[in-house]
């Protein structure tokens, strides 16, 4: 769906996942370098890093593929 024929809904979703993923990834890397005293359960799995990275990669893929002007919906 491209309301108005310009920006696809999936582009907005891509941007949302990309920004959230990068913020989570950055927070995860900071925690890796500076481990907090009070830690969440399974802290050693560093979920912020891989989940944030996954969301960012997925979001980047969507944002690029559905970027305005590419004619995809």
């Amino acid at each position: 769906m491209k309301p108005g024929g310009s920006i696809s809904i999936w582009f907005f979703i891509g941007i949302s996942l990309l920004v959230n993923g990068l913020l989570i990834l950055a927070a995860g890397i900071y925690e890796l370098l500076h481990p907090p005293e009070v830690r969440v359960v399974l802290f050693d799995l560093h979920a912020s890093i891989w989940w944030g990275g996954l969301l960012a990669a997925l979001g980047a893929g969507y944002a690029i593929y559905f970027a305005p002007g590419k004619g995809r919906d």
């Binding site: 809904i9 949302s16 969440v40 912020s48």
Partner: protein, 567 residues
């Protein structure tokens, strides 16, 4: 409501860091940006109220599901899973999938081909103005009331989980929804619902993944649940042979016939809140595919709602209690299990995304209520009963204003609920009074040419009145439960199931009897409205992979397999 009150007495569950706040604020900025961007695309009535009827099956399908996936639904059913075990999954599987497939394959063609803009609009075409007036006024009243109650409950949850001021939470969330729906209409609501759907999954999916890793997989989870509660908590059907054999106090007939055949059919096929999303589809095939896509994802929702509840039962070091007990003891209630699990695994960033998922769920539910209210108010009440001959631009303007007014009434309701907390119980009951009889009326209208306008109206009225009567009977004389719900052991949920079943049957019976003694409409007038006299476009020109029937069978097989696995 009591849950939320219980939360008031407990301490704040989580503390957000700076990055969490940035994620939450970014979400609000994005949904508002989408609303402003779409303002230019909502100039006509078709644009504003039906999103131009140009949504793809995927967008309509995800929006269809998202409008139902509110934050209270997420937290409430996770709490129900902690309390009742996997039985709560019935509300996602047999309580949704068959109805969604039925909507797609049987009912959607009539809604779509009739070109109606709403469910009350279909009743007008099929049964006349009196049936539309009855259903539209009830629906509009219930919708704003439910919206306000959800608003208040969610603000209360935000206060407890995050320590946010309740007035600020109500104001910020409701004003945001009002702005983006008033600007872009249904298109904006749908657009944001799809975004919210993705965020809900992104924010909530990590809990079952990490939870299963901690529990040692499904077998480890079952062993821990058996040790902490009972092995029965991980069985879907095997404990439903007797009312007294399961914590829900329900029999399989109540689940199959009350929930599966009446309540869920009524909700998913006639509640305009969800049906409106599908009416926005670009063509009939997309309109049929949308509920099937929604059903496919609905089948997976228990993995982010029911599973975290079971994981909480297996892994949390504290024992969650009922709402009343939580108020007295200051402990945590069942309904807090999802935020507790969120806080257990999610550090900075992930916590912000999880909270954003809850807020997104709340806003998608509220936007669904508001946009449905706006359409029914403008087309089925204002245009039908108050001002019949205005221009399209006038109705669009009325739609924008009624969005703002609908939100304002919802805010008023939210504060009303603070003072009269029992309202919530009554409103939920009132909502159920109407949905089950409506299903019988709409279904008979679609499938039986002999159903007459008088039959439809009196059937709907009798079904609603019988439901209210049964509810009042049990309220005044609790021993009546053995007649209404077939067992003195039945609990509230079981009573709701059977009351829905009886009221649906009453509506159907009265519709049939009155129709048989009144004059039917000429068959020629029923074209496009009723099975047998409506030409359904053939799908023989599309490949198997693009046919709704094919995907409905796939989803149906998945549904059967899941029920067998968790039997």
């Amino acid at each position: 409501m009591t849950t939320a009150l219980a939360m008031l007495n407990s301490q704040q569950l989580v503390h957000l860091s700076f990055v969490d706040f940035v994620i939450v604020v970014f979400y609000f900025v994005l949904v508002l940006a989408i609303g402003f961007y779409l303002k230019e695309q909502a100039n006509t009535g078709e644009d504003f109220f039906l999103a131009g009827r140009e949504m793809t099956a995927w967008v309509a399908g995800l929006s269809f599901l998202s409008a139902n996936l509110g934050a209270l639904e997420l937290m409430g059913w996770a709490g129900a899973a902690y309390q009742y075990g996997i039985l709560a999954a019935h509300w996602y599987w047999i309580g949704a999938i068959p109805a969604m497939l039925f909507l797609a394959l049987v009912m959607m063609p009539f809604y779509y081909i009739s070109r109606t803009h709403s469910v009350p609009g279909y009743l007008k075409l099929r049964f006349g103005e009196s049936s539309r007036a009855l259903s539209s006024i009830s629906f509009a009243f219930m919708t704003v009331l439910m919206s306000g109650i959800n608003m208040y409950s969610m603000a209360l949850v935000l206060k407890i989980v995050l320590g946010w001021n309740i007035n600020v939470s109500i104001l910020v969330s409701s004003v945001t929804v009002a702005i983006y729906v008033a600007l872009g209409g249904l298109r904006s609501a749908i657009f944001n619902e799809v975004l919210q759907f993705i965020l809900i999954w992104a924010g909530a999916l990590l809990i079952p993944i990490l939870g299963l890793m901690e529990a040692g997989g499904w077998s480890g989870l079952r062993a821990r649940v058996a040790a902490n509660a009972s092995a029965e908590y991980t069985h879907l059907w095997s404990t439903l042979g007797k009312f007294s054999d399961n914590p829900m106090g329900i029999h399989w007939t109540g689940i199959v016939f009350g929930l599966g055949a009446v309540i869920s059919m009524g909700y998913w096929t006639t509640d305009f809140l969800v049906v409106q999303r599908v009416l926005s589809a670009k063509d009939l095939r997309a309109a049929k595919m949308a509920p099937i896509i929604g059903a496919g994802f609905k089948m997976l929702v228990p993995f982010i709602v029911i599973l975290p509840g079971l994981l909480g039962l297996a892994l949390l070091p504290i024992k969650l209690v009922g709402e009343g007990q939580a108020v007295v003891s200051g402990g945590h209630s069942y309904n807090e299990v999802l935020p507790l699990m969120l806080a257990r695994y999610c550090g900075p960033g992930l916590l912000g995304l999880g909270i954003t998922a809850l807020i997104a769920g709340f806003m998608s539910g509220m936007a669904g209520n508001v946009s449905a209210f706006t359409t029914v108010w403008t087309y089925d009440i204002y245009r039908a009963l108050i001002k019949k001959d205005a221009t399209d631009a006038h109705y669009v303007s009325m739609g924008r204003w009624s969005t703002v007014i609908g939100v304002a009434i919802s805010i008023g309701t939210a504060y009303l609920v603070m003072d009269f907390k029992s309202i919530m119980d009554y409103v939920q009951a009132l909502f159920s009074f109407f949905i089950a009889p409506l299903f019988a009326t709409v279904l008979l209208g679609m499938l039986w040419t002999r159903a007459t306008p008088a039959g439809g109206f009196w059937g709907l009225l009798a079904g609603t009145c019988s439901s209210v009567g049964m509810w009042a009977w049990v309220k005044m004389d609790p021993t009546a439960l053995r007649y209404v719900a077939l067992s003195p052991y039945a609990r509230d949920m079981a009573e709701n199931m059977y009351r829905a079943l009886w009221s649906c049957l009453v509506a159907a019976l009265v519709t049939v009897v009155v129709s048989m003694v009144t004059k039917p409409r000429p068959v020629a007038e029923l074209k496009g409205l009723v099975y047998g006299v409506t030409e359904i476009p053939s799908e023989s020109y599309v490949s198997m992979l693009h046919r709704p029937w094919f995907w409905a069978v796939i989803v149906g097989v998945g549904f059967v397999i899941l029920n067998i696995i968790f039997w």
